[in-house]
């Protein structure tokens, strides 16, 4: 029996290694300094760690700016998704109204489409509106990706908060708006922050729409994609590491909400 258990734990460990070792390799490549670049065979653990390669990469014209633009786009996308998604989710959770199901269906329908591809025809309209090649334009497109998710998840968040609390607030003289802000929101805040973080990661990671809708003001993903064919591998790996670090941190922050959110959002 204990032999079986040991085999089982070994299996778990192997899968953990399958996930973690590739992450280690790109970090070792990006942080291993000059020696690692041309080394053959590659050392699995670099002799020394240095930030030289990463620094060089960041010093390339446009890289640091692309990072800032990536962050700006993701923050805008987060704000839009939360501002538009929360009220809609609240309506779905608290009211029965004609069209509620049609709205739910419309939101679900977007998930059967590769939304990023819809950026293709937007270029013309965006040029006309002055949105092409701006962080705002990319953020709007990314919000179309993140909003359905924000609506569905916040609906289930609000559903989990007892209606009685709100009604009590009304009795004590709060307006419905005050009750929603002062009573419901504090309770929903952890879930809402998870929604926000997810919107941020969706936008930070998106490549296609960001590439199509920008020319000079590129996000980090669009910048990396554009320079793939012309830059040395080391810089590509440094860029990859920069892409990865915030995502891993954010997923760590929302790990507790992940399953509740997907259990609901996928029903």
């Amino acid at each position: 029996m204990s032999g079986k258990r040991a085999l089982y734990l070994a299996g778990i460990a192997v899968v953990c290694a399958w996930v973690l070792v590739p992450l280690w390799f790109i970090a070792a490549n990006a942080l291993g300094g000059q020696a690692v670049i041309s080394a053959w065979p590659k050392p699995f653990i670099p002799d020394a760690f240095s930030l030289v390669t990463l620094g060089e990469f960041l010093a390339i014209e446009g890289v640091f700016r692309a990072m800032l633009i990536g962050i700006e786009v993701a923050v805008l996308c987060t704000i839009f998704s939360v501002l538009l998604g929360l009220p809609a989710g609240y309506a779905l959770a608290r009211y029965t109204f004609r069209g509620a199901n049609a709205f739910r269906l419309m939101v679900l329908l977007t998930r059967a489409f590769p939304v990023g591809i819809l950026a293709l025809p937007l270029t013309v309209g965006f040029i006309r509106l002055g949105l092409y090649d701006t962080p705002l334009g990319i953020a709007l497109m990314h919000t179309a990706l993140a909003l359905p998710f924000a609506v569905l998840v916040s609906a289930s968040l609000f559903q989990a908060i007892p209606r009685e609390l709100e009604e009590a607030a009304w009795v004590f003289g709060c307006s419905p708006f005050q009750a929603a802000i002062r009573v419901v929101m504090p309770l929903a805040l952890p879930g809402v922050s998870a929604v926000a973080i997810f919107a941020f990661v969706i936008s930070w990671n998106e490549v296609f729409a960001a590439s199509v809708l920008s020319a000079r003001n590129r996000t980090l993903t669009a910048y990396l994609l554009a320079m793939l064919s012309e830059s040395p591998l080391t810089y590509q790996f440094a860029g990859g590491l920069l892409l990865i670090v915030p995502s891993v941190l954010f997923i760590f922050l929302v790990r507790k909400h992940l399953f509740a959110m997907w259990g609901i959002a996928s029903r």
Partner: protein, 281 residues
């Protein structure tokens, strides 16, 4: 009166937003794809199909989706079942397994490029094992099969995580009593899995398959990171026609094909894995 309109006021911003940034571009994409100089027609689709890369792109896309998605589902099912018997440390293991969930396909492509490039870590490992003595250039146009395998591995590594999350969330909704009862009556673990657990997980398997198939049809950065332009797929061709050939209407034709495939796949999964109304919880 105000109270009755309130829900509509609350959903209005989201509805308007989705109308402007989802439905309008959707219609525009289709219109653009069917628009030619001599009026509406299939001209853009003909140009798309006549292109040298089109055939490869179709074949590669289908092979990629057809292999990556079932692999992800099988692995995620196995991993979700493994987690059931883990007591302490379950949260930590689950967190580790879901790390790739937050990564873009571009990042996953770059990670596997670090491993599989000519002086990469796989070649180094083979060197240490005495199997090869020189750097190995696998990822070139001369070895399309190796490119294909590399792209599938990268996508498998990255996107299995989201399937695990959906399946584990679904598994939490499955009462343990059924499996316990079957066990009491002497059913083997495999039989319990195939006859009880799997059917009860159908709704979450269905949503995982829909999500993954749509996103796999859309994957392109991983392909470009690993194969450059040597492993064309439908979406990377759409990207090339838009950005390099400056032909938005042919790119739109590709987009229409991808959308059609995504919808067809969604319809297929909805039909194949339908849960009868009386079985819904």
């Amino acid at each position: 009166m105000r109270g009755r309109n309130l829900p509509y006021l609350l959903i209005a911003p989201a509805v308007i937003f989705l109308a402007v940034l989802f439905f309008i571009p959707l219609v525009q994409t289709i219109a653009l794809a069917f628009e030619t100089r001599s009026g509406p027609g299939l001209g853009n689709f003909v140009r798309m199909a006549d292109d040298l890369n089109f055939h490869d792109a179709v074949v590669n896309t289908f092979r990629f989706v057809g292999l990556a998605v079932p692999l992800q589902l099988a692995a995620a099912l196995g991993m979700a079942m493994m987690l059931r018997h883990l007591g302490k440390g379950r949260d930590l293991v689950l967190w580790i397994w879901t790390i790739p969930l937050g990564l873009s396909d571009l990042a996953a492509g770059l990670i596997w490029l670090a491993i599989l490039n000519d002086k990469g870590y796989l070649a180094s490992l083979l060197f240490h094992l005495g199997i090869v003595s020189e750097p190995q250039s696998w990822l070139t146009y001369e070895s399309p099969f190796a490119l294909f395998v590399a792209v599938v591995i990268a996508e498998f590594w990255r996107a299995t995580a989201i399937v695990i999350v959906i399946l584990v969330a679904g598994l939490q909704l499955v009462p343990k009593e059924y499996a316990e009862a079957a066990s009491v009556f002497g059913a083997s673990p495999w039989r319990i899995f195939t006859r009880i657990t799997l059917p009860l997980m159908k709704p979450s398997i269905q949503s995982a398959l829909i999500l993954r198939t749509v996103l796999a049809f859309e994957a392109f950065a991983v392909v470009i990171a690993i194969g450059g332009r040597n492993f064309p797929v439908l979406v990377s061709e759409a990207y090339n026609w838009q950005n390099f050939n400056q032909e938005p209407s042919v790119a739109a034709a590709y987009a229409v094909v991808v959308m059609g495939l995504s919808l067809a796949a969604t319809a297929l999964w909805l039909r194949l894995l339908r849960t009868p109304a009386e079985q819904r919880g």
